[in-house]
Symmetry: C2
């Protein structure tokens, strides 16, 4: 059965990723969009989700892609109307609101998918499999990129709740929490706030687990030149390196896995499978680690940031 899909919050990520992924998947038919500013050509467009849900009753599912601060109300409207809901990452501005959404989806018997696109990077499952078969000694996460290149003029990411450097950093955490064999938790963090901004531009988090794992994650938005989205693990079976945001896997320098990036097509296949099986997938671990880091972290002020 084809899923009649609507997209809410039409911005850069929708144009770059969601629309091509949906267009390439025969399980979906895109029937409507709602957005304050953006439009999708060739389908019905609305200014707000309530208006859209009332006008297009054939909608089965909605993808919510607006900034996280505005996602809860839209999700409640969709769930209350009996629609399946996909949440872009991060799934909300608070953990508490997403817990509430999960309870509402269960009550309504519809699927809620708190998606983490980086978990669908090509080599993530291979990395998980590798770590399951050996002993992990230490892990280093290095997620360093140039915010001016990747988030030009996006004011909301600097506002309270916009998460700052954790917006890309949470992608790393979504991979780490998928590939590690057991749960970790933060023991300390440093968050660097530009003196003119309400969100961090850089952060370092130390994690451990019940067996004393040494895990260090470094996120930085001030990286010019080569960008890094790398996870390196020292194990009894060699040094595992998951690089390019989860696209490539090597052990002791030998490339084991490198396929073309297909994150959003894979993500939409998973959403269709959840709907078909009548299940939800709401893993809040990545957002919980970010909230923990904010709660536990030491704040320092650094130079002002100007776009």
């Amino acid at each position: 059965m084809t899923i009649s899909l609507a997209i809410v919050g039409v911005g850069k990520i929708v144009r770059d990723q969601h629309l091509p992924a949906v267009a390439g998947n025969a399980d979906y038919r895109l029937v409507a969009a709602a957005s304050r500013n953006g439009r999708v050509e060739g389908i019905e467009n609305f200014g707000a989700i309530g208006e859209m849900l009332a006008a297009v009753p054939s909608i089965d599912a909605v993808s919510l892609c607006m900034p996280p601060q505005y996602r809860y109300a839209a999700a409640v409207a969709a769930l209350d109307a009996g629609k399946h809901v996909l949440l872009e990452k991060p799934p909300g501005a608070t953990l508490s609101e997403v817990e509430d959404l999960a309870a509402r989806a269960a009550e309504k018997g519809v699927s809620l998918f708190a998606s983490w696109h980086s978990r669908h990077a090509p080599a993530v499952e291979a990395a998980r499999g590798f770590l399951a078969g050996t002993r992990l000694r230490a892990m280093r996460v290095s997620w360093k990129e140039d915010v001016r290149q990747w988030h030009p003029g996006q004011a909301w990411i600097w506002q309270p709740g916009g998460l700052g450097v954790f917006d890309p950093g949470i992608n790393a955490l979504s991979i780490v929490t998928r590939i590690l064999p057991q749960p970790v938790f933060a023991t300390g963090a440093t968050l660097e706030f530009p003196e003119n901004r309400d969100a961090p531009i850089a952060a370092t988090i130390r994690f451990t687990d019940a067996d004393g794992l040494d895990l260090l994650a470094e996120f930085d938005w001030r990286q010019t030149g080569p960008q890094s989205w790398d996870i390196e693990a020292e194990t009894d079976a060699g040094v595992m390196r998951l690089s390019e945001g989860g696209a490539k896997l090597s052990v002791d320098g030998r490339l084991l896995h490198a396929e073309p990036e297909q994150e959003y097509p894979s993500l939409y296949r998973r959403f269709a499978a959840l709907i078909r099986d009548g299940r939800s997938d709401v893993d809040l671990a990545p957002l919980r680690h970010v909230a923990d880091a904010f709660m536990l972290g030491r704040r320092t002020l650094v130079d002002a940031f100007h776009d």
Copy 2:
């Protein structure tokens, strides 16, 4: 059957509250204590929990009362040894570590109690009953006390992870989340950090729920003179006031409920009941709201604080 109890982390709260509550409850026999600095007279004392668990195998349950930053490792040691565990509030320095403890307790088949002593204040259940029978329009939480009086020289509460004014504020949140008829979530917060400290001395959090509730919580540690631990609710049945930290309940100025404070005796009765019934009680909502406020909140710097 009598529960052989051990207490870990012997400080002010243990002497003021835990020891009298345990002494007054025939379900318990206090058999040992472990603490870096404190001692309990008349029982065996140890410097660390591992040593204690090895030396006194008859222990059935432990109360963990050290600062939250040190609680996880002790809880894992106790759970792995098959002991029931009571966690003082807050249950840990991160949400993630307590999620892991809950999973471990379930695996071991022992009881884990993430306790919130303020939920045992005398009028809390009456307030919950009152709110369940009417329509709530707005709520104001005012938790304002003098940190010099209540936390003299306690350095750990000012360290990262020590939570600052949320240490008392989380008591208010533990009551609010118990008495409200449906979940709330933060939409904005302001956190005031003394320029020489790593934890907030004051905070304001705005919450709402799916029906647009107007809930404002104000926490302040700079209150001299009269102290306030009050929750006021405008409802269709009048203005409900839960005051003195949950001890007194009035509606439209008429006192409905006022009994002597018995928080810790009630808390230990609940722990004994959980052990007897083979159940756990790990409600992380209060700590989740604190983490959400740190993640979502705007930070401001205020005057340095000196003890």
